[in-house]
Amino acid sequence: MPTPHPIELLRFNTCGSVDDGKSTLIGRLLYDSKSLMEDQVEALEKAADLSGGGTVNLANLTDGLRAEREQGITIDVAYRYFATPRRKFIVADTPGHVQYTRNMVTGASTANLSIVLVDARQGVIEQTRRHAYIAALLGIPHLVIAINKMDLVEWKAERFLEIRDEIENFLPKLGGFRDVKFIPISALIGDNVVDASTHTPWYEGPTLLSHLETVHIASDWNGTAFRFPVQWVNRPNNPTNAKLHDFRGLSGQIAGGIVRKGQEVLVLPVGIKSRIRDIHTHDSALQEAFCPQSVTLCLEDDVDVSRGDMIVGLEDLPGLESSVNARVCWMNLKPLQTGKKYLLKHSTQTVQAVVTQIENRINFQTLEPELNPASLAVNDIGTIRLKTSKPLVYDAYAVNRLTGSFILIEPGTHATVGAGMLLPPVERARHDYGDFSI
C-alpha cells in the first residue's frame, strides 16, 4: 500500500486586502491539486447555476458562513486541510477587512509561512505593509508575496518588477524573514498556482504549490533552554494502590529545550532546586523528552508546585519580573489606555496586569514608531509596559514563542483584547537564592 500522505506538515496563512482573491486562491489550490471531493465540486456547481451565472466561484469553498456567501466576503479565519504526495498542509484563510489585525494574528500565530496577496492593479497598499509587518513581528520565517490578478495587467513583467521593488524597499525595516518569494499569479485562471503559466515566460521561479512543497521548514520550537509550564498536578490519590497513592506528577507540555532523567532543575517563581526522578507518558517512561512533547514529570523532592509554576533547567535562566515590556497587537474596539487593568494569560498562569506606559505605536504608512501615543486603537500595534500582580517567568518572544507570548483578557466580558510578545527581560531568575532545603 502506498503511503497515503507525507509526514511533513506545513502550516501557512493567506492574507491580503478585501477582494485580493485569498479565498479564490485557496479554492484554486484545492481544486487544481485535486484535493476536492466530488460532493464539494457538485455543491459548487449547484451554487454556480443558481447564483453565479454558471461560473464556479472557488471562494465559496472556504466562505462557510451564510453571511459570507451573501456578502461575498470572508468574515472569520477558516481552516483548510489538504495534502499532496510531498507534504501535508494546514491553511488559515485570514480575512482582510475590519478586524484585519485580529484575524491576521489569529491565523498567523501558528504558521510557518505567510502568503501576502497583492492585487497587481492596485500595487502595494497600507494593508500589504501591515500584513508583512505582522508576519515579521510574529516571527514567521517564510514570506510569499503572491502578485495576483496578473491577467488584468496583461501579464506585464514591468508591473510585477515594480511591485517587487517597492516591497523590497521596505522589507529591511521589518527584518527577520529567512526567505521572501515573489510569484506572479492569477488565482482566478490558475496561472502559477499549481500549474506553470504560459503567460509569464519572463518568470523563472516555481509555482506557488511547488514552492509550498519544497521550501525548507525548520522547527519553530526552541531546542536549547528547558522550560516546563506546569499545567495540571497529577495526583491519583488512589487508596488501594500504594504506588499510586504516593504518586505526584506534574503534567504539561515542554515549552522549550530538552529534559533528562536525573537532571537538576529549578522550580520558579519560588526558586527551589530539585532533580527529575522520572519522565512519564501514558505509553512509557522516558530517559529524556523534548519540546513540544506532553509529559508528566516527577521530582526527587516533595516540592510545593502547582499550575502556573514553571520548571526550568539551570542554564539560560528565564526572566523573572513583575514589570515587563512587550509589543502588543490590539484587537478590541475599546482602546488600550494606561491605567487600565486586564487579565494576562501567559503560559499556564493568569495574573492581573495594568498598563503603565504606551511607548509607541507603529505608523503603517511609514512603518516607523510614533512615540508616546495616548492609546492603542483596534488593529494598532505598539510597545507597552505592564505591571503584573505576580512575577512572570518568561523569555523574549524572539527566543521562545511559547514562553514569550501572552494574551490580554478584559475582566467581566472575558473578551480576548490583545496579543502580546515579550521583549527581553532585564532581571533574570537566579539559582543561588534557591540554595536552601525545605
Partner: protein
C-alpha cells in the same frame, strides 16, 4: 448481521491497558535505532497528539465542571485515548456525556457502555425522548429526525449538571461552518455560537473564561483530518464499533441514500422507538454489504457499500475517496447552511 468486523481490532479489549507502565517500551527518541538517537522531531500524528493533550489538560486546569462528549464514534474514541494520555495514572477528571436520539445503532450503545466501564468513567446519558417529555424539545409536526432535537437535550444536560465546558470530537475538515470553529468555542447563556464574534485564538493560549451560565465547547481534534483519525486508531490499536467494518445488512433507499433498517420491534407494551426510522411502503429494501463512514443515528447515517473490513482497508478507502465524509450524512444535506444553523443554536 454478518461478521464482527472488530474481531481484528480487539487488541485492546479484554485486557485494559496498565494505566501507567513504569517500565515501558523504549523511548520514542530511540525508535529507529537504539544506539543512534533520531532527531528531536515529532511526526505529524505525534504533533497532533501533543497539541490535543495540551488542550485536554488546559480544560482540566481551567474549568470546574467539565464533561467529555462520548458517543462511541471514531472521533470520540480518539478523544478517550487522548484523555488517558493526558491524565493517567489519575482518573479522567470529568464524566462522559452522551445524548441519545433513540434511533441509535445498538452496536454503538453497547460499545459506548463497554468502553466507559473499561476506563472506569462515569457515563451520563440523556435522551431526546426525555427532553420532549420535560418540555425542553418540541418536534415539528411530522418531523422524524431527532437530530435537531439533540440541541435542547444537550443544553438541558449542561444546565442540569452545571457543566462549564464540554469537550467534543468535532473536526474542522468535516464541514465549512466547522472550518471556522475555534479550539475553545464560547457559548452564551442560551448555548449559542456567534461566528461573527469569536474570541481570537492566538498561539496555544486559550481564553477559557466564562461567566456563570455560559459555557465553552472545546475541540481537541480541530486540526485532525478523517485520515489522521484512522491513522491514529491504527497506531494506537484502538477498538472501534463493528459497524465501521464491512458487514451484510438490510438497507432501504431514502433521499438517494441507503439507510439501515432498524432492529425489529418486539416489546409490544411500549411504542416502537425506531418508528420514524423504518422503511415506508414503496421504499426499496435490499440486503447489501455495507459499512458506515460516519455515524449519527440510524435515520441520518447513509451506509456505504464497501468491502473494507480492517483499519488498513479503511485507510486505503479514505485515501481513494472521492466524496467527503459528511457526504453520507442526511442531516447535512438539508441546505448549504444546515450545520451553521444547528451550531448557532447549540449543536455539538
Amino acid at each position: 448481521m454478518g461478521r464482527q468486523g472488530s474481531a481484528r481490532l480487539t487488541l485492546n479489549t479484554g485486557q485494559p491497558r496498565q494505566p501507567f507502565p513504569l517500565h515501558g517500551r523504549p523511548s520514542i527518541l530511540f525508535k529507529s535505532n537504539s544506539t543512534t538517537m533520531t532527531s528531536y522531531h515529532l511526526d505529524h500524528l505525534e504533533y497532533l497528539e501533543t497539541e490535543a493533550i495540551h488542550i485536554m489538560r488546559e480544560v482540566a486546569g481551567e474549568f470546574e465542571r467539565p464533561a467529555l462528549l462520548f458517543s462511541g464514534g471514531k472521533d470520540s474514541i480518539c478523544l478517550l485515548r487522548l484523555a488517558e494520555k493526558a491524565f493517567r495514572p489519575s482518573e479522567i477528571p470529568m464524566p462522559f456525556l452522551n445524548i441519545e436520539t433513540g434511533h441509535e445503532f445498538p452496536e454503538l450503545i453497547e460499545f459506548r457502555d463497554r468502553r466507559a466501564a473499561q476506563l472506569g468513567a462515569k457515563l451520563i446519558v440523556r435522551t431526546v425522548e426525555d427532553a420532549i417529555a420535560r418540555g425542553l424539545a418540541h418536534p415539528a409536526p411530522g418531523e422524524t429526525s431527532r437530530n435537531k432535537l439533540q440541541i435542547p437535550a444537550l443544553l438541558g444536560a449542561i444546565e442540569e449538571f452545571r457543566f462549564d465546558c464540554a469537550i467534543g470530537g468535532a473536526r474542522r475538515d468535516e464541514e465549512k461552518a466547522r472550518a471556522k470553529e475555534r479550539f475553545f468555542s464560547f457559548r452564551d447563556s442560551f448555548g449559542q455560537w456567534d461566528p461573527k464574534a469569536q474570541r481570537p485564538e492566538i498561539w496555544n493560549l486559550y481564553n477559557a473564561r466564562v461567566n456563570p451560565g455560559e459555557h465553552m465547547r472545546v475541540f481537541p481534534l480541530s486540526n485532525w483530518t478523517e485520515m489522521d483519525v484512522w491513522e491514529y486508531i491504527r497506531k494506537e490499536k484502538l477498538d472501534v464499533p463493528s459497524i465501521y467494518f464491512s458487514h451484510s445488512r438490510q438497507c432501504f433507499l431514502r433521499g438517494g441514500q441507503w439507510l439501515p433498517v432498524p432492529p425489529p420491534h418486539v416489546d409490544g407494551s411500549r411504542p416502537d422507538p425506531y418508528a420514524g426510522a423504518r422503511p415506508k411502503p414503496g421504499e426499496q429494501v435490499r440486503q447489501l454489504v455495507v459499512r458506515v463512514r460516519t455515524i449519527a443515528d440510524m435515520i441520518s447515517t447513509g451506509m456505504i457499500e464497501s468491502p473494507a473490513d480492517s483499519v488498513e482497508d479503511i485507510i486505503a478507502e479514505v485515501a481513494a475517496a472521492r466524496v467527503t465524509e459528511r457526504g453520507t450524512r442526511a442531516d447535512d444535506k438539508a441546505s448549504e447552511a444546515a450545520m451553521e444553523d444547528r451550531k448557532k443554536a447549540g449543536y455539538f
